[in-house]
């Protein structure tokens, strides 16, 4: 079933055209990766899906919900879309557990005890069951990002968005986060990931979309894009990535 439909989306910021007619679909359970040079509009695309940024024109559909319609309740929509940020954005004044229970209690209206149960389960799921009472300042980058993933997962979203989840991490911490993402993918979560992590893209992605200058230049499975890209621009970008060494 088509879970996400992006239909001819345009978005601009001040005088600059950021997205220029982007269209693609995702089926439930798909794991898609958005790649491209900086400024190509990848992050903006993600933010349009949960309406942190508004599109200028075009449509986005999430299941039966018409995301871009003005009458759609933004807060309800965001319960169905989980987002993981490059800078983690963990709530600094709350413990790891409380970071997760905040949404459960205030948005979903779940009782405190039950919320704590669920939060603990999600922290276990990402391998941080022993860090429930730690504050973000006391966690490493990789741990923070995993809490961020748990926080998003706890809302039981239909779609998970990842905005360069490992770009702010030291190389040795990247592995833990990628492992969590791979588990999620294997478990059937629909994921749209903006990332330079080629290892993840190769192993877990169903489709890779190469975005440049606000337009999708080429889409296809990893084998195609990495081995036999149809477009020169795609080849140029990806070989530059690969030249940066194992990631």
């Amino acid at each position: 079933m088509t879970l996400l439909r992006i239909d001819d989306v345009y978005q601009s910021y001040e005088a600059e055209q950021v997205l220029q007619g982007v269209s693609f679909d995702m089926q439930q359970g798909d794991v898609d990766v958005l790649m491209g040079p900086s400024g190509s509009g990848k992050s903006t695309m993600l933010r349009c899906i949960n309406r942190l940024t508004e599109v200028d024109s075009g449509d986005i559909w999430l299941g039966d919900t018409h995301v871009t319609a003005p009458e759609t309740d933004v807060n309800e929509l965001r319960q169905d879309v989980g987002m993981v940020f490059q800078d983690f954005n963990l709530f600094a004044h709350l413990t790891a557990l409380e970071n997760i229970t905040l949404g459960l209690k205030r948005v979903k209206g779940i009782h405190a005890e039950q919320a704590r149960e669920r939060a603990r389960d999600h922290l276990d799921q990402v391998g941080l069951g022993d860090q429930t009472d730690a504050y973000p300042a006391e966690l490493s980058g990789g741990q923070k990002q995993r809490v961020g993933i748990a926080r998003a997962l706890a809302m039981e979203p239909k779609l998970m968005l990842f905005d360069e989840p490992t770009s702010a991490l030291d190389p040795e911490l990247v592995g833990d986060v990628v492992a969590v993402m791979q588990d999620l993918a294997a478990g059937g979560m629909t994921m749209l990931v903006v990332s330079h992590e080629m290892g993840f893209a190769r192993s877990a992605a169903d489709d890779i979309h190469f975005l440049d200058n606000g337009q999708i230049v080429e889409s296809g499975p990893p084998e195609q894009l990495f081995e036999q890209p149809e477009q020169d621009r795609t080849a140029g970008f990806l070989s530059g990535l690969q030249a940066d060494g194992p990631q």
Binding site: L52, R78, A92, H93, L102, G103
Partner: protein
């Protein structure tokens, strides 16, 4: 107008050497509050049969005065060698001279405390919406909030008090209210002063809170919204808890400021600490004793506030948000 940056904590307490590391200083403060508290209980709460008269000090004056005199004559008899004894004699004399006035000053200090607490408390209630409106509001709300804070912060507190007390019929209005001036409730001038301090403090607190809110990373609110919290909920549960912690140093400054500037209420006839000191000094011509006493009182109040705010900062801090670096 440029922001009034108050990132430097007005650490009067550290200057005066009062801190947890100097227990004797804390003891002196504790003694001060012990005496002040018992004076208040004695004058306001205890029935006349048990209480010491509200006109008389706890410690009888005559023995102390006699001691001062004796010491003085001993010092004189010892000649130049008696200089240190002379110093002690003056100190004891100072105490003897101060004792009769302590009860009145204590009653004044009560009003000072009330004024300060009311000013900062009500001011805070007004300041939070002011600053939230300024940071997150639409154009009109921002403009309104900005105008208010700029107007209040750009004019002297004394002028504001004069406008309220002499210029507006506030006193008439308040006087008509039930209970004003009767029993424990102070008379109308006090309430006018409370209004003045509230309006004034709200403007300054709004600035501190605003800059603290702005120092909270924008990503915090974004993440809150991404989880599905509404804008208001995001501000209430994520931004404010952090922002308010960052605002604590500014808040300490404001508390100390209010303690000191509550003395201005004397000019609109509120019988707080400074009013009393000046009144007694004019009566007795003992300017030195009275103003020194007043200064000591205010210092004790300010130091206590510093210590308390330091404790608040420690207790409310969370690793990564707030607390002394």
């Amino acid at each position: 107008m440029s922001t009034e940056e108050s990132s430097a904590v007005d650490d009067v307490s550290i200057a005066a050497g009062v801190s947890v590391e100097r227990p004797w200083a804390l003891l002196v403060l504790a003694g001060f509050w012990g005496w002040l508290g018992s004076r208040w209980i004695n004058d306001f709460l205890l029935p006349d049969s048990i209480a010491v008269s509200s006109e008389r000090s706890f410690v009888p004056v005559d023995p102390v005065a006699a001691a001062a005199e004796t010491l003085g004559s001993v010092a004189a008899a010892l000649g130049p060698v008696g200089a240190p004894v002379d110093v002690v004699a003056s100190l004891v004399g100072f105490v003897a001279g101060s004792l009769p006035h302590l009860p009145a000053l204590a009653r004044g200090a009560w009003l000072t405390l009330l004024l300060t607490v009311a000013g900062i408390g009500f001011g805070f209630v007004l300041a939070v919406p002011l600053s939230v409106g300024r940071v997150y509001g639409g154009r009109w709300l921002r403009w309104l909030s900005l105008s208010y804070t700029e107007l209040i912060r750009g004019t002297p507190l004394l002028a504001q008090l004069f406008v309220l007390y002499f210029g507006l019929p506030l006193t008439q209005v308040i006087r008509e209210l039930p209970g004003v001036g009767a029993g424990p409730l102070p008379a109308q001038a006090f309430w006018v002063a409370v209004v003045g301090f509230t309006l004034n403090s709200a403007a300054y607190q709004a600035e501190y809170i605003r800059s603290a809110l702005e120092s909270v990373d924008a990503g915090q609110l974004t993440a809150a919204r991404a989880v599905g919290l509404s804008r208001l909920e995001g501000i209430r549960y994520v931004v404010l808890p952090q922002g308010l912690r960052y605002a604590i140093p500014g808040w300490s400054n404001e508390l100390i400021y209010l303690i000191k500037y509550s003395s201005l209420a004397a000019f609109i006839t509120v019988r707080e600490l400074f009013f009393r000191a000046e009144a007694i000094a004019n009566d007795t011509f003992r300017y030195t004793e009275l103003f020194l006493l007043a200064a000591l009182f205010y210092l004790a109040l300010v130091l206590s506030a510093s210590v308390v705010m330091g404790w608040v900062e420690e207790r409310s801090s969370v690793p990564g948000v707030g607390g002394r670096r």
